[in-house]
Subunit: 220 residues, 4 copies
């Protein structure tokens, strides 16, 4: 009898507790983010870290990366792939293809267009009261002697993103800076890939872990 | 007294006549269309032709061209620059920069992205019940011996637009074809510009007149 | 005894006959020519045709093709790879990479430089009294509806080579024209490869045979 | 009579004195060197410095720069423009266009080709017993925050030249390094031009003076 009452009281109590709403985080980007949602990818690793630290119940992580995407591709598909999911936080990680495709296929993004579309993406998210966190593009080549072919242009677009974060009061995960710092310490042989990337751009195991850790610092 | 009654009757009559609604046509494109809205430009010439033929009262023409625009730039600004103007008809003329900028600045548009954004632009217009008329890009070079550097790629994008017009049941003004035909007849010296263009791309006086006439055939 | 005298007389006779000097032909070019020297390649096929028609004794064919070569690469290595072999005839087939690499790696050849180096190559050969035969670049894509991306530029360089042949009184094997004609007849499905090429550029079996036949017409 | 003898003795003496042979230095390069031979240019400034320091009699300076030249252009014209002048020393300054033209016209130079042609140029000079001094390309943009678009690629080609100098035991004037150091000290506003260049590449007055001084250190 006593037990029944105790159980009842507990249930009663629970029914008055606020339903704990999970915060939904969408990771919005290119092939790096597409792979990040796979097993061993940086999004899965963030999920595991949240579980280990007991914060898992508070967050729901979703990948929204598509290979080859540039900033204007994000703008085109953001209604369907991001806004429709009603996220609380959106982490944007884009920029590598905007620079890289200038060299590989003549279809990169002009600096002024990059800024215009990025601003438009941020505005649409902020209009829905979504928290926005920006990432700088990490790397196209890991050499530390300043001879990665596209470093200058990549630094320029990374600097745009830092400015955008500041002007729009967004969070910033400065992967460009973190990757450079990491390579200066751990890439003494001046290799062009194999430290945090498999192919100068896409993340290897260590790279996914590193990104997960860098994102944890800013996101939680 | 009689006069007053007559006047009153007339006013009464007028108040029951349908207000003749002008059809609003927006010309949506790049620098060629931007110049087309100026004195001597193709939009102004269409306006004059409408006046000469007494059809002027039925139409209102508006230019919405911005230099350097590619298909994704049209998509980005279409709400503000086109939809906000509540047009009945939109004439889209784009494609030169999507091809040309591959060569000049490494920032052209990938074929699949061109199609995706063009489809998105058409869809947004059709959803508002707006009549859509597509133009193929006219020229990057007027030589007739098939040695204009970018002809192959320009033909490819022109062919995309013909397909889009057919699939979406849009009107088509095939300027690419018209320009080639005109040059085959009138450019016997195989000049790279100076026939319908000033600089291989932008229209000279004759070019603006020619485009105005080609558009008249399809639009009215 | 009689036999010995007869043999001696024969040998004596032979020793006065002119040694029949084989004409040495060097095929000088890029990866297409490099493959042309392999089994089934166009050079091997020309050799077989010469054998079939009993002309084999008069000619010696040598391949001097290296993958990725542009006109200035030919100039750089012509002393060692061509002049050192003391040829009677040199067949030059180059131009695809000079155009193609503009798109793939930003390292094609400017039109004026193409002409300057090509002239220098011809001059060096003519100074040694070597007969020179020029080939136009055959194809980068086999589509027949004028939408091969690089056709315009390729036609331009082909036209340069026709002019060079005329001005320098060289032989001309107009492969560009032959390939276009062949595709118009045999590529009714407008395929981009698979007719004479495997991959838009390099020759398949039929392509090697076709080139061998086109060259036979001009060379012998 | 006395005078005649004195004169005779003097002439006799002179005829036994070694003829002081001027050392001929040819500056071999692109538009920067072409301008360097003009009034106020770096070659003229070196000449003035030699005069001021009384060393003028020992040297003869000649400009051999042509606008738009890349390493293979130097190779093509070196017989006529350099070897024919029988120089004692050749200062080679090239590389900007090999990198820059990748972006502006799709006609830069592949890294492996750059090395091959540069080696060939050095070899031809060394075979004639000419002293060779190499310069690294100075700048395409003077920003100091690592956002000059082509810095990575320019650093790569500069590093090639340092290696070539070492392997071939040539002199080295490391203008790339000097310009970076100078800008770090004097370009606190992170301007893209106007410090040592007029337009990110070509030298202003200060730039010509700076290059002249840097060259003096190594050459004399």
């Amino acid at each position: 009898m006593k037990i029944t009452i105790a159980l009842f009281s507990t249930l009663l109590l629970l029914s008055f507790m606020p339903v704990q709403q999970k915060k939904r985080i969408v990771f919005f980007g290119d092939s790096i983010t597409q792979a990040g949602a796979n097993k061993g990818g940086y999004i899965q690793r963030i999920d595991s870290m949240l579980k280990s630290s007991g914060k898992s119940a508070g967050y729901e992580l979703m990948g929204a990366g598509i290979g080859g995407n540039k900033i204007y591709d994000l703008y085109l598909r953001m209604e369907e792939d991001v806004l429709a999911k009603n996220p609380d936080i959106v982490v944007i990680w884009v920029g590598v293809n905007d620079v890289w495709h200038k060299r590989t296929s003549g279809t990169g993004t002009d600096p002024d267009k990059f800024l215009r579309f990025y601003n438009a993406v941020i505005k649409k998210l902020r209009d829905k009261n979504i928290k926005v966190v920006l990432c700088t593009p990490a790397a196209i080549g890991e050499k530390t002697d300043f001879t990665n072919e596209l470093d200058g242009d990549l630094n320029k677009y990374a600097s745009f993103i830092r400015d955008l974060a500041k002007k729009n009061d967004c969070g910033l995960i400065d992967l460009r800076k973190s990757f450079l710092d990491y390579n200066l310490k751990h890439n003494s042989e001046n290799k062009e890939s194999g430290i945090l990337t498999t192919d100068r751009v896409h993340l290897n195991e260590k790279g996914n872990q590193f990104v997960a850790e860098e994102m944890m610092k800013v996101l939680f």
